[in-house]
Symmetry: C2
Subunit: 385 residues, 2 copies
């Protein structure tokens, strides 16, 4: 079967972009990706975004983005799957390229989260990823739901507070030399342990920051790609849903949808978990990062902290994880995150990742999680020789 | 080329559903469509919705809908393209079925618009389909933008207030015997002319009502369909964007994106406008309905009112338009509307439309418009013999 390829990549720095609108950010990333791909004719645009209607007063992002890059006329829509909106957009772009009707599709993930009057609005907006009728209405926030998952996971595997610190410490270390990363400073275990409690046992340094950013990809057929010197193949993809409400899960210490999405993506790619050379996980909260590593089949359940503590997840380790700093330190503009993950993987697999480049990876995987594990997307990328 | 088919159809009545949640409505429509299709295995679910994040405090509708119908696990996303979200979902379902990865995809269009504290909220929410930075911020509402279009169109073609009344009068007439329609009462020209001014020259009876509803389709490959006795083929589809802001258009008296989408859909279907036997237009406002008929190539520019006044658009006329009452009288739960249009066409083309059935149609077309013409989707359906 023909596989879709990534022909071009572009993204903005993630920060509080006070002078750039949602449209400005989307345009910057899109134009970079189009140039990187050699400016092929685009058959459709898919915008991955979660919060624009609530935070920015703007829906209809398909038309907004198409016009902003001079492509008014081109077919365009927005796809939303909570914090997995970006990779959802990538997956549906892949499906359409495989249909033979479209040759090249532009994916733009964008989120502008800081442009609101106070942070409480962002917290409310993010809570729309949870079950409004059965969770949010009764006062649950998104961090508090993830705190419940962290508590359950810690209890099941008898983990200490330190055990959750290894991942954010590595993420901050990785981001220091990454020019597009949001939090480019190291943290240590004392700093982690003494960071303010957000929702017991979830600390501030367990949580990804709020930021603005956009990332874009040009998805093409391999044969139709103009700039073939840095093509990367999307060997497999898969997605799955789980219950929207966290309390309706049988076991809070695993992510069933993440396991199912992994199985589907591996099956399409004809690969196994041991084939991964580099991993992008969704560490919006430390515990979710650990659950991702377990769902991907990389470590046994309850052992993710040991894997990270061992040094194996470092850039120079046996299986590098989030070499650009992940959601925790590179940043997490929610609807854009999945596109950042896949864009970073594509750069790694074409030896274009700069300071974060790891040595000669052939197969990479990205896991992007919507809600508290209710909607998960996995993409497996492979170097094109 | 293999074409996607519609294997099952389901929808709810459109009204103010005080006792049913967004989830309840989506489930009702989805289960009806699945049963109608013989309950095939579903590879993915696409939810068409515009306003759930803003009005209902709920994003992540993919997971919500999957779980609500017992299909948690299945891949699912939400697609948004303003008032064209429903048909955008149908088009992307078609693309994915043509990819050979998916055999059957469930599309659910849903909108719950009445569940807010006051109507001003709905008006603000609908304005997110326009350009926030350049229109809405300065006070434009969605009706006021459409009033500008109506004023321009009336001036260009020297139309009287009466000329805009023919379409809503026909729509109300058609809806009287349609059990799922929202406004099942006739209106006459006096009633139309004396209806309150909303935004001069736009009157109340030019505007579609606000309502709650959900519609669903099962899109399959023809060969894989279980209940083949009422299959309808999607012979062609096309979509196009135009400037997000209304003022940036060269000519307000035509819809460029609607013309382009029509050309693309006809090209894929290998058909011409004269092949249409039945038409579904997006009459959210009377003038937009007229502009749809012109963009579809059915009437000359400026002549749509004459076509409707002549009786040709009646159920028994030469080319029936919106035999179920259209957006004006059947109702317009925005993210669901495009799915209602295509579902109604599918029933017509399989002789299952009940009281609104027209005589032996072979080819039908549905046009669904997002924003003030900034994102348009056209689907052409054909009877399967």
């Amino acid at each position: 079967m023909q596989k879709p390829t990534i022909a071009g990549v572009g993204f903005t720095k993630i920060t509080a972009h006070w002078k750039q609108s949602l449209k400005d950010l989307a345009s910057e990333a899109a134009v970079k990706a189009l140039n990187d791909a050699g400016n092929p004719e685009i058959n459709a645009i898919i915008v991955g975004n979660m919060l624009s209607g609530i935070i920015n007063g703007q829906e209809n992002l398909g038309s907004l983005v198409a016009e902003s890059i001079g492509l008014s006329g081109v077919s365009s829509v927005k796809i939303e799957a909570a914090c997995a909106s970006g990779s959802a957009a990538v997956m549906w772009a892949c499906l359409s390229v495989l249909s033979d009707l479209f040759d090249s599709v532009l994916v733009v993930g964008v989120e502008k989260m800081t442009d609101v009057t106070d942070n409480e609005d962002v917290t409310s907006a993010l809570a729309t990823a949870a079950d409004y009728d059965y969770e949010v209405f009764f006062g649950a926030t998104f961090p508090s739901l993830n705190a419940m998952i962290m508590r359950s996971y810690a209890k099941t595997y008898n983990l200490s507070p330190e055990d959750f610190g290894y991942l954010p410490i590595l993420m901050h270390k990785n981001a220091v030399d990454v020019s597009h990363a949001q939090l480019r400073f190291p943290i240590d275990m004392d700093g982690y342990l003494n960071s303010p409690m957000v929702s017991d046992p979830l600390k501030l340094f367990d949580c990804a920051p709020i930021g603005d950013g956009a990332a874009a990809l040009v998805i093409t057929k391999k044969d139709g790609a103009k700039n073939s010197d840095h093509l990367v193949e999307i060997a497999g993809f898969g997605s799955a849903t789980d219950t929207l409400a966290t309390y309706r899960r049988e076991d809070l210490s695993r992510l069933r949808a993440a396991e199912l999405a992994t199985t589907r993506a591996l099956s399409m790619a004809g690969l196994e978990s041991k084939d991964f050379d580099i991993v992008q996980i969704h560490d919006a909260f430390s515990v979710i990062g650990y659950l991702n590593l377990e769902a991907l089949g990389i470590v046994e359940r309850g052992k993710a902290h040991e894997f990270v503590a061992s040094g194996d997840a470092e850039r120079s380790g046996a299986l590098p994880v989030n070499p650009e700093g992940g959601l925790k330190a590179r940043g997490h503009p929610v609807g854009a995150t999945g596109v950042y993950q896949i864009a970073e993987l594509a750069l790694q697999l074409s030896d274009r990742a700069g300071p974060s480049q790891i040595e000669n990876p052939n197969v990479g995987v990205a896991m992007n999680v919507g809600g508290t594990g209710s909607n998960v997307f996995v993409h497996i990328l492979r170097r094109v020789e």
